[in-house]
Amino acid sequence: MLRYAFRRVLSALPIAFIAVTVCFFILRLAPGGPFDTGRPLPPNVLANVRAYYNLDQPLFTQYLLYIGGVLRGNLGPSMAFYDFNVSQLLAIGLPFTLTLGFSAFVIATFVGVLAGMVSAVYQNKWPDYVLVLAVMIGLVVPNFLMGALLQLWFGVYLRWLPAGGWVTGSITHLVLPVTVLAWPHAARISRLMRGSMIEVLGTNYVRTAKSKGLGSRLVLARHAIKPAMIPVVSYLGPGLSYLLTGSIVVEQIFGLPGIGRYFISAALNRDYGLVLGTTLFYMLLILVLNLIVDLVYAWLDPKVRYS
């Protein structure tokens, strides 16, 4: 198991490298630059600034300089937030984004699995219909609309929850953003879980388990959940990337100080260093979480365990 994990980490490194490379060049291909917005700078000032950020060097040299910096743990300066470098900005936003993303991920996975299971067990009865409706809502309502609706309803009309903003340590401020972020994720998981659970409940081995008189609870808990989780777990990796992209929007809607907010402003400002740094960070997060997912997968399905 440990060796497998180690191998996976090693194989993730080239992927990370390629991704950073691709991002670096795509970003530079996009028209415009970091200093094109706002008041035009005098040519000599612009030249100085460009030299400061190495932008006057050939593109490939810039690339090597950047990679060299990253390898030494230096993500470079931010071009829009002059007083900070990229690592500092990430360090400010990070705890927040992780809290938001992680709670949404855990809650959504848990709720999704549970909902899918209930749906499958009560297939075509009313609990199933109610849940399928909730799933549909999660799938079709985009997060910015859902965010606005929930803000309006719970924040403005009912005044149960703050409509946005952030107070350190306040859970109530997290409820709505986490809900908006988690709902579509839970919906997709629930749909997967419902399908695979229905399939598993019809398998011969579940019939065998029933024939042994184990009782419906044990049949479900011991014999059905594990195999039914397999497709769900393989979705968690890609699902996580959806969730993280969603968190960029959600942080913006609710005015939350995560790195998602930097990401958008950085992209708009062509803040090369910050975009790359954020991307790199999201990528590492996704790689690590995918690794965890794969390890869980191996635990669920003994057939893949040793290959």
Binding site: Q123, T203, N204, Y205, V206, R207, T208, A209, K210, S211, K212, G213, L214, G215, S216, L218, R222, H223, K226, P227, L300, D301, P302, K303
Partner: protein, 329 residues
């Protein structure tokens, strides 16, 4: 001898979108302690559903009526929670396909020991010990190691042995084996039949052997029941049915089975197709394929009735000895 299972008027039907399939009709039979009953018939004749219904394992759209009494216990219509007291303990079932009937994500030992934990209140350790003994009993080499394996690490024959061990853990009074050897190759089949024979004898278990294969029947069974179109059409002792079949369908099954003693003789398949359960012919369901039919067969359905001696029953109006007549024809 005492009856361990008493089936009367058992019917199984499945609800479809806007119709109903009647898969088993008016089944009546009894199973005696320790005996082996073979149930034979073509695909779709209702063999599996008859016994799945007794075990409470019908598909969601299925419904059983009638009665299946195990001693004083009425199994038909019993809620699953109550059935769980008996299935796996007093009545166990082995399924057709050993490759898919074990849970791929659980170790063999877990799938065995849980039966004893549930029904005998053993602790995990004691259950495991007993499970390993049972694996040894069914002829699995190095059972401790195999107990720690996952199903996909075992061959088909080994898995079927595991299934047999699992079913016998609580020494059930009744074991239902639904085509337990069809998926296995011939040499393994023979070993498996030996195993059934010796274990059911040792444990005094009554065995219901569902099969297509008359060779299997001849090898293990005391009595047999032939099913056609959801009904029993002939029952009796195996020897009697083999030497003097009285239902044309039984005769057809026999003549379409290879027999080493008569290798020269050509096999004669039963002509025509198995009936569709939704459109059974009027009168006897077998009449379109029958060589002995006459007018009455198209008007009335022959009931399953005793005739002659030795507890034989048939559902056929024809009176003669079929085998003899076919030979002379």
């Amino acid at each position: 001898m005492e009856n361990v299972l008493e089936i009367s008027d058992l019917n199984v039907s499945f609800a479809l979108h806007n119709s109903e399939v009647h898969a088993v009709r008016d089944l009546n039979f009894s199973l005696r302690a320790g005996e082996t009953l073979a149930v034979v018939g073509e695909s779709g004749s209702g063999k599996s559903q008859s016994f799945l219904s007794i075990m409470g394992l019908l598909a969601r759209n299925g419904r059983a009526t009638g009665s299946a009494k195990m001693g004083d216990v009425e199994l038909v219509g019993m809620p699953p929670r109550q059935l769980d007291k008996y299935r796996g303990k007093d009545i166990a079932m082995i399924f057709q396909d050993p490759m898919t009937s074990l849970n791929p994500s659980l170790k063999i030992k877990r799938q065995l020991s849980e039966v004893l934990v549930k029904h005998q209140n053993y602790d995990e350790k004691k259950a495991l010990k007993e499970a390993i003994e049972m694996l040894e009993r069914v002829g699995i080499p190095s059972p401790e190691r195999r107990a720690n394996a996952y199903p996909h690490e075992l061959s088909g024959g080994m898995r079927q042995r595991v299934m047999i061990a699992m079913a016998l853990l609580c020494r059930p009074k009744i074991l239902i084996a639904d085509e337990p050897t069809t998926a296995l190759d011939v040499t393994v089949q023979a070993q498996m039949l030996d195993l059934f024979r010796s274990l059911t004898k040792d444990f005094g278990t009554a065995l219901v052997m569902i099969t297509h294969n008359l060779g299997v029947v001849a090898g293990v069974a005391d009595r047999m029941m032939v099913m056609y179109g959801g009904r029993a059409v002939e029952t009796g002792h195996v020897d009697d049915l083999f030497y003097d079949p009285r239902h044309p369908y039984t005769l057809g099954l026999l003549s379409s089975t290879p027999n080493p003693a008569e290798r020269a003789k050509r096999l004669t398949p039963i002509e025509g197709l198995p009936p569709s359960l939704e459109h059974l012919p009027k009168g006897c369901a077998f009449n379109p394929r029958c060589k002995f039919r006459f007018e009455k067969c198209f008007e009335e359905r022959p009931p399953l009735e005793p005739f002659g001696e030795a507890e034989r029953k048939k559902a056929c109006f024809y009176e003669g000895q079929l085998l003899a007549e076919e030979r002379s024809a």
